[in-house]
Amino acid sequence: MSTATATYDEHHEHGPDKGLIRWITTTNHKDIGTLYLVFALIMFFIGGAMAMVIRAELFQPGMQLVDPQFFNSMTTVHALVMIFGAVMPAFTGLANWLIPMMIGAPDMALPRMNNLSFWILPFAFTLLLSTFFMDGGGPAGGWTLYPPLALQMGDGFPFMIFAIHLAGISSIMGSINVIVTILNMRAPGMTLMKMPLFVWTWLITAYLLIATMPVLAGAVTMLLTDKFAGTSFFNAAGGGDPVMYQHIFWFFGHPEVYILILPAFGIISAIVPTFARKPLFGYSSMVYATASIAFLSFIVWAHHMFTVGMPVVGELFFMYATMMIAVPTGVKVFNWVSTMWKGAMTFETPMLFAIGFIMMFTIGGFSGLMLAIAPADFQYHDTYFVVAHFHYVLVTGAIYSIMAATYYWLPKWTGNMYDERLGKIHFWLSTISVNVLFFPQHFLGLAGMPRRIPDYSVQFADWNMVSSIGGFVFGASQLLFLWMVIKAIRGGEKASDQVWEGANGLEWTLPSPPPYHSFTEAPAIK
């Protein structure tokens, strides 16, 4: 046995390298997962700082702190950083950490490419953020980069476009790795319909990413050539159409919003059964619902463009197709609630965040249904109602699921329990403040306050001040989260292997923290 081990220790029985080199050259799924998560956390605070600037400027009517151009670049880059820099890398980090452990694999399928997927990101965001220091400043035309406005950007324009290209290459490679890992690396006996839902939702998310990120790359490439090479894709004088950009962009953009939420569904489907101490209600319907949402996400993109000018038949098609998404999403919410029904529930921090997710994501889902009604959307379009809607699904949806996942798996990753009291304070502070922050924005939007404008009429003053106060409290509460994570990494009460009494799944059979290589030998699957 020892000789057999010795012949293989070159690549199997080793620990990590020492120091910085470990993190730069690593091919280990846990190291890379950690890198992704730390990167996402940093970007979360950078994007969050921009949100604080936005809320400070909107604290009162009139121009307060920053000039309008800078305000516009704050809203634009806040979105780009949060979507491509915080939420997506956080989910990829979770996928890296968890998928090999959940399916009984030794590592990700393509470990070297895994490293490259991560290390492109810091360079991509260096490019994006460097545009602030160039002539003309950062991108200020909105994260959707609609021409002709986006084309008016200064010297930073090509840097921003290439930042998007690089981030896209990173996600495509990351997704290829996830799909191949799931399809090729499962332990014997781990059939597709036995996989944890987090693995299922990521499989479908990765498919969406591979299908749509190249389309975004195409769209921004056309922007680049329209600006620098004289092409006329989005120029009506040359026979093109600026609206064409919107169609191509949202063909990417709509599946993208499901990329930002499907892994969250997987996380919630893992946490709720653990703390309800009951198996997930309707496992297979969850899988089919996820697949249906993914399919529908490809045929609803123009609901972002109801007011841009479209034949009536188009408006109707996209309206009905959009509303259909409520059906599989409703199945999911129903299943989570049914899982909790008559369960032996306890409310540790991950469960609190999961329940918070279910309630507030549902609010965001309902406001989405309101927006899906084409005739009504003419009133809501480009108002704070839209802002309130997508922050309910992204902050109290996607971000809450990432918080829940962190609390849930942190003891597994670090071997130490987090501070439960601190976690509960973080949850309640966040949940109260996030509603003070975003709920009034529904009223503002319905009353007609436009988004992406640094100033507003005085009748919007009260709710804006309330919203800003909620924003500052929410921002400050996240420092608690940072402190909690650092504290758990540095030490604390030791966690058991299973960590949670009701936790099921292969990752909980490994020690806490797990060994450097997860399953060098395939585990037995029940």
């Binding site: 470990p111 092409t231 040359g238 159409d241 609206v243 063909f251 034949p311």
Partner: protein, 288 residues
């Protein structure tokens, strides 16, 4: 714990990915500077591209070395295959964006500019005199008068060339599968030759378009879609040809066996993909 040759090979740390990331970073910085009119950017761009080439030699060299040492089992081979398939799928979607732009322009935006369907006000108010159907450079006559590209000359010949190259690479694959290295290399070389001839014709066509037909990238939506679609396709043929040259040399060195030749098949799939895209181009860009 006992190990067998069936273990999934997980490499220990590699420095190639960080080289790749830095190379890509330099490449795009160089290109961006160049776009902004800083000619020094070209230097950065070329250093970046050189680094990418260096990285590929190193990275792929390592993988080839490991494969020849027998470190990869069937499962690793499957990972490579599936990875390549999904990569090609992402490429399909990249082209889909440009085909989408072409269809949108031809079916919707140009007819609307002509006043059809819901575009009558645009036509009446903004572009009253416009009456040019496809191929067009738009109501603003962007890029000036031009002559559209004819399908039944060089493009038809290029279609034949690429289709036959699909046949030759299959013949090569068949030869490889029965272990006939000589014929395998021969048919591969023929495929490379066909690819290069295609590229030569394409270059000639481009030069002729620019010098003889006033058809440029700036010739409105027709020029934009024509050159971006055929240009990205040509870039992929170039990459494919380089890949073919590499596997020709590797086949000649005896790297491939009848049952272990992922690189060969990966390149062949890629080549067929490039082939299929060309068929789409030939029909929608040239013929129709």
């Amino acid at each position: 714990m006992t190990h067998t040759a069936n273990d999934y090979y997980v490499p220990h740390g590699s420095h190639w990915p960080i080289v790749a990331a830095i190379a890509m970073f330099m490449t795009v910085i160089g290109a961006a500077l160049w776009f902004n009119g800083e000619l020094n950017g070209r230097m950065v761009l070329f250093i970046g591209l050189g680094l990418i080439a260096f990285m590929m030699f190193g990275w792929f060299g390592t993988v080839i070395h490991e494969n020849l040492q027998g470190m990869y089992n069937d499962q690793v081979d499957r990972s490579f295959r599936q990875g390549m398939m999904w990569f090609i799928f992402s490429e399909v979607m990249f082209f889909a964006a440009f085909f989408g732009a072409l269809f949108y322009a031809r079916v919707l935006s140009v007819p609307w500019l002509l006043g059809m369907d819901s575009g009558f006000t645009t036509h009446d108010v903004l572009w009253q005199g416009f009456n040019e159907a496809w191929p067009t450079n738009g109501p603003g006559d962007v890029g000036g008068e031009f002559e559209p590209m004819e399908a039944w000359g060089i493009p038809a010949l290029n279609t034949l060339l690429l289709l036959s190259s699909g046949v030759t690479i299959t013949l090569s694959h068949w030869a490889l599968k029965v272990g006939d290295r000589g014929r395998c290399v021969l048919w591969l070389a023929a495929t490379v030759l066909l690819g290069m001839t295609f590229l030569g014709f394409q270059a000639y066509e481009y030069i002729h378009a620019y010098t003889g037909m006033d058809l440029t990238l700036a010739s409105g939506i027709y020029g934009s879609t024509f050159f971006m679609l055929t240009g990205f396709h040509g870039m992929h043929v170039t990459i494919g040809t380089v890949m073919l040259i590499v596997i020709t040399l590797r086949a000649a060195k005896g790297h491939f066996t009848a049952d272990n030749h992922f690189a060969f098949e990966g390149v062949a799939w890629y080549w067929h993909f490039v082939d299929v895209v060309w068929l789409g181009l030939f029909i929608f860009v040239y013929v129709l």
